[in-house]
């Protein structure tokens, strides 16, 4: 055995121990990085952007709360409400609008929704029939919707009262119309809670959570550094693993070579 062989073995053993401990401690982070990375590579196939997280704790962490104002109206046996930019008929999501909800009513198998500058016509199931606005003769600045005493749909606008014909295709000003306007009402507590969960649940996509998990941002401001540390540890593991393998290969190669004893001459026949 050479004079320097013992310290070299010691060094190798120490590197091996480091490799082992770092490997064990980085394992969890590597699993997180690899699995989230795989999922993000197939975002479209997995439809991560159209699946939403409804976990209340996670939603709180992301600061997704209920909107400050919820506007709601009681239409026969249904509830029409606006949560932020989302409109709901009971629990059916009717779509998004930046305009404020001013009321709604059912008229001949149609749900008529009045927004600040538009009137939406939908089927009772929530399918869009038509969006009406200035081009269709409805002025902007709608503040209420109602039914006139002769059964016409009417909207109160900045330019006065406008009423519609039977199929709601033509709107005209009707200054003498007397209408009963739809008033706001508070949602029942149980529906309010269900819609709150639905609204908050729509605010956070699974893709966002997985992206943040992959980058470490989900663990707060220091999460990024935790994932950086994981990346550095993985680099160390790659180098230390390769180094240990190379040293072992060399040692195995040396051990396989025939050893000739000093002072012994080869026999001559």
């Amino acid at each position: 055995m050479g004079r320097h062989q013992k310290p070299r073995i010691k060094k190798l053993r120490s590197l091996y121990i480091w490799h082992r401990y770092i490997g064990v401690s980085a394992a969890l982070l590597v699993v997180v990085l690899a699995s989230t990375g795989l999922m993000l590579n197939h975002t479209e196939k997995l439809q991560l952007d159209s699946h939403y997280v409804s976990n209340p704790w996670l939603l709180d962490q992301y600061g997704i709360h209920a909107p400050a104002n919820v506007h709601s109206y009681h239409l026969q046996n249904h509830w029409l409400s606006q949560w932020g930019e989302r409109l709901f008929l009971d629990q059916v999501d009717l779509g998004e609008t930046q305009e404020k909800l001013q009321g709604g009513l059912f008229y001949k198998d149609m749900l008529v929704i009045a927004l600040k500058n538009k009137v939406w016509l939908l089927t009772p199931q929530g399918e869009l029939i038509e969006k009406l606005g200035n081009s269709e003769g409805i002025p902007t600045g709608i503040s209420a919707i109602g039914i006139t005493d002769d059964g016409q749909v009417a909207v109160m606008t900045a330019q006065g009262v406008y009423t519609a014909n039977r199929d709601l295709s033509i709107w005209q000003d009707a200054p003498k119309a007397i209408a009963v306007w739809v008033d706001k009402e508070d949602l029942p507590a149980s529906l309010n809670q269900r819609l709150l969960e639905k609204y908050r649940g729509h605010g956070l996509s699974l893709e966002r959570v997985i992206l943040d998990l992959h980058s470490g941002r989900i663990f707060g401001p220091y999460g990024l550094y935790i994932m950086d540390a994981a990346a550095v540890l993985m680099l160390f593991l790659a180098f230390s693993g390769s180094w240990i393998w190379v040293i072992r290969q060399i040692r195995n190669h040396q051990q396989k070579q025939p050893v000739t004893k000093p002072g012994k001459q080869p026999r001559r026949d």
Partner: protein, 178 residues
């Protein structure tokens, strides 16, 4: 060296400014619906008619648009064999609003009323929309004339073709109903 850098920074700023200005000019409302209709019917706009996109009409509209129509009811303005349609279709991300005049089953005029995408607004120019003039609908719901594309505006061109076909199809339905 500093002079050299200064010169190129100015050049780069100029190009960025021009690119932004180009992108900004691509969007816009070129004609209001009311003006389009007034121009089409020389000031005497007829009352609107309605076509419900249900049953076989919905099926054909879905085939033309390659997706379900976004609304169930489409309005039109017609006098005799002549009709005007204002339709919308998404080019890449934003809807393009088109005004189409049909006379005796052929496109008389096609005009982009509003373009909201950041690119591809070349389709609004007359040199492009003129190609649709006198186009009719073949039994396979395709246009009778071929439309030359514009590089960089493929999706906008496709949206205009779909709307032209849809307007021609809906006009056929209107006439068979009336």
């Amino acid at each position: 060296m500093i002079l050299f850098m200064k010169k190129y920074t100015q050049l780069l700023t100029f190009f960025v400014f021009m690119a932004c200005a180009y992108a900004a000019t691509a969007r816009g409302v070129y004609q209001k619906q009311a003006d389009f209709l007034s121009q089409t019917f020389t000031g005497n706009v007829p009352k609107p008619g309605l076509i419900w996109l249900t049953g076989k009409i919905r099926k054909a509209a879905t085939q033309i648009l390659q997706h379900k129509p976004s609304r169930l009811r489409v309005r039109y303005w017609a006098r005799g064999m002549r009709s005007a349609w204002v339709l919308e279709e998404i080019g890449k991300e934003q809807p393009i609003t088109l005004g189409i005049v049909i006379n005796k089953g052929r496109i008389e005029r096609l005009r982009v009323l509003a373009f909201r995408e950041s690119r591809g607004d070349e389709v609004r120019h007359d040199f492009f929309t003129r190609q649709f003039s006198q186009a009719a609908l073949k039994p396979d719901l395709q246009l009778s004339t071929s439309i030359d594309g514009i590089s960089g505006a493929t999706l906008s061109v496709r949206a205009l073709q779909k709307l032209a076909r849809l307007a021609l199809y809906l006009d056929q339905q209107r006439q068979s109903r009336d």
